[in-house]
């Protein structure tokens, strides 16, 4: 029976990106000296759904490679992938995931279940393991979705380790090199100030922007807001109405309210 598994089709045709071959090449030739990585990704559940944000900086060692990298990518009409780690592998994984979900929906005439989607991402991370073990291609994603119905209805946040294990987080999740800096603050605010899930969008959004600025202050691999160059973080809202970007105009208004000049 046809399972509608796109990854198997690519493997059969020898067109899946070859982690094994890459590992062999690295073993023979040594790992390249530079690879881009470093980030702060943050997702939190608020009253209407989930806000997902990522800074825009990509670094290689102590060099800033790019200041407008997109790390929050929509996968389909209801879910997004927020990526920290090696951009080359992260983008390839996001691309494979998006096409796999489309292929399944079109061949099987039904949507892939949430468990099926989580499992597909796990498999992609496991396939990427040799690259991660070489220290040149680790990817640590957060998968955020808003399920319309069923026992898992509502906004959901799942994070993965480099081996492909996935865990659901209830209130918030942060990954990347800047995440240790803000994790404690997020825990404190959620527990002793006011739970994030009770906050409206404006309040949650300002908190997200403040956290990214805090991470950027102490982590060189996280880029902060720069008004002069018009570099804004990426922020998406994932709600029952689908996925929408928070516009740069809206972000500018909130930064002005927070008195962050950049």
């Amino acid at each position: 029976m046809d399972s509608g598994d796109f990854l198997s089709i690519l493997k059969e045709r020898g067109q899946l990106p070859g982690a094994a071959e890459a590992t062999q090449a690295v073993a023979q030739n040594g790992a390249p000296g530079m690879h881009t990585e470093g980030t702060t990704i943050l997702a939190l559940r608020y009253r209407d759904g989930v806000l997902v944000a990522g800074d825009r900086r990509a670094t290689a060692g102590n060099v800033v490679v790019y200041d407008r990298a997109a790390k929050v990518l929509s996968v389909d009409d209801r879910s997004v992938l927020a990526l920290s780690g090696s951009p080359a592998n992260a983008y390839e994984i996001a691309r494979l995931l998006e096409i796999s979900f489309q292929h399944y929906r079109r061949t099987q005439l039904q949507e892939l279940s949430l468990d099926g989607r989580l499992r597909t991402l796990s498999r992609l991370l496991r396939d990427n393991l040799p690259m991660a073990m070489q220290g040149i291609g680790a990817v640590v994603p957060i998968y955020i979705t808003h399920e319309k119905d069923g026992p898992q209805a509502g906004g959901r946040i799942y994070f993965y380790d480099v081996l492909g294990a996935n865990f659901e987080t209830v209130d918030f999740c942060t990954t990347g090199s800047g995440s240790p800096i803000i994790r404690g603050a997020l825990y404190f605010l959620n527990r002793w100030e006011r739970p994030f899930v009770e906050r409206d969008e404006a309040e949650a959004l300002r908190l997200v922007l403040q956290m990214l600025e805090t991470a950027a202050e102490f982590d060189t691999a996280t880029g902060g807001f720069k008004s002069t160059a018009a570099i804004y973080p990426q922020v998406m809202r994932v709600t029952g109405d689908g996925i929408t970007d928070i516009s740069e105009a809206d972000l500018a208004t909130h930064y002005a309210h927070l008195q962050v000049g950049g």
Binding site: D2, I9, R13, L96, I99, H103, R106, T107, L109
Partner: protein, 260 residues
């Protein structure tokens, strides 16, 4: 024995006859353009016959359901591998047909110890680079041809030709979906009536009698007794990447009301 050219030609001729016989009673699929996109319409006793292939590509077929499924799966696989290896904008109908489905169906047809695909296929793309390639029809032997404003596949070649003759001269510009549904349904009924009269002919020389509105109404009513009308659109107004939308029964009902 089949290495003798005459035997091989005879075997191929037998296959053509076998396929013509198997496909003869198939309900047509009609494709027309309208202001906001492209419409595919057919009747079915139950299983779906019109499908999404890729963001801007749709597929429908007549024939054996298992063969239609095989071909549907094949074209979806080709489109998605193409989108993965290149990009979504490189998935074009012309390439899917000329380098994918056409050769696949021809290979099955030519291998005389293998079963051919008992199917005729119609595929369509929304806003292709060449407007004259909005539709492709592919016969069971793998031969394919493009068309612009309308296309049809049916149980017989003559029945499809009768549908196209009915649709000739209209390109769908300025036409609403409601009007396009009515026109496609009439065209479908023309093909159905033509095929029935063709089958009733006592000799090849007999002319097929002209079709009246009553004939069309009877064909539609008969289809509704044994099944339902199925229709889908590629709608360029859709805000998502995918432009395919299977029309709900309520949308089709407007076109059916005058026949009830």
């Amino acid at each position: 024995m089949l290495d003798e050219p005459y035997r091989w030609v005879e075997a191929i001729r037998n296959r053509r006859e076998y396929l013509a016989d198997q496909l003869e009673g198939a309900s047509p699929v009609v494709g027309v353009c309208y202001t906001d996109g492209v419409l595919l319409l057919t009747s079915t006793p139950g299983p779906r016959k019109v499908f999404e292939v890729y963001n801007q590509v749709a597929f429908a077929g007549v024939g054996h359901p298992a063969d239609i499924e095989k071909l549907r799966k094949a074209i979806i696989d080709i489109a998605h591998v193409e989108a993965f290896n290149l990009s979504a904008s490189d998935v074009s109908l012309q390439r899917l047909v000329a380098f994918g489905l056409g050769p696949l169906m021809k290979a099955a047809f030519d291998e005389i110890f293998r079963s051919p695909h008992i199917a005729r296929v119609i595929v369509t793309e929304l806003d292709p680079s060449d407007p004259l390639e909005t539709f492709y029809t592919i016969d069971a032997d793998g031969s394919f041809s493009p068309s612009g404003a309308a296309a049809a596949v049916a149980g017989t070649v003559d029945s499809a030709a009768a549908i196209l003759a009915y649709l000739k001269g209209r390109d769908g510009s300025g036409e609403s979906l409601t009007d396009a549904l009515a026109r496609a349904l009439d065209a479908w009924a023309v093909g159905r009536v033509f095929a029935a009269r063709e089958a009733d002919k006592s000799s090849e020389d007999d002319e097929v009698a002209p079709t009246t509105q009553d004939d069309l109404a009877t064909a539609v009513r008969d289809a509704l007794v044994s099944g339902r009308i199925e229709a889908a659109v590629l709608d360029r107004r859709m805000p998502k990447k995918t432009k395919f939308r299977l029309l709900p029964a309520a949308d089709i009902e407007g076109a059916l009301a005058r026949f009830r």
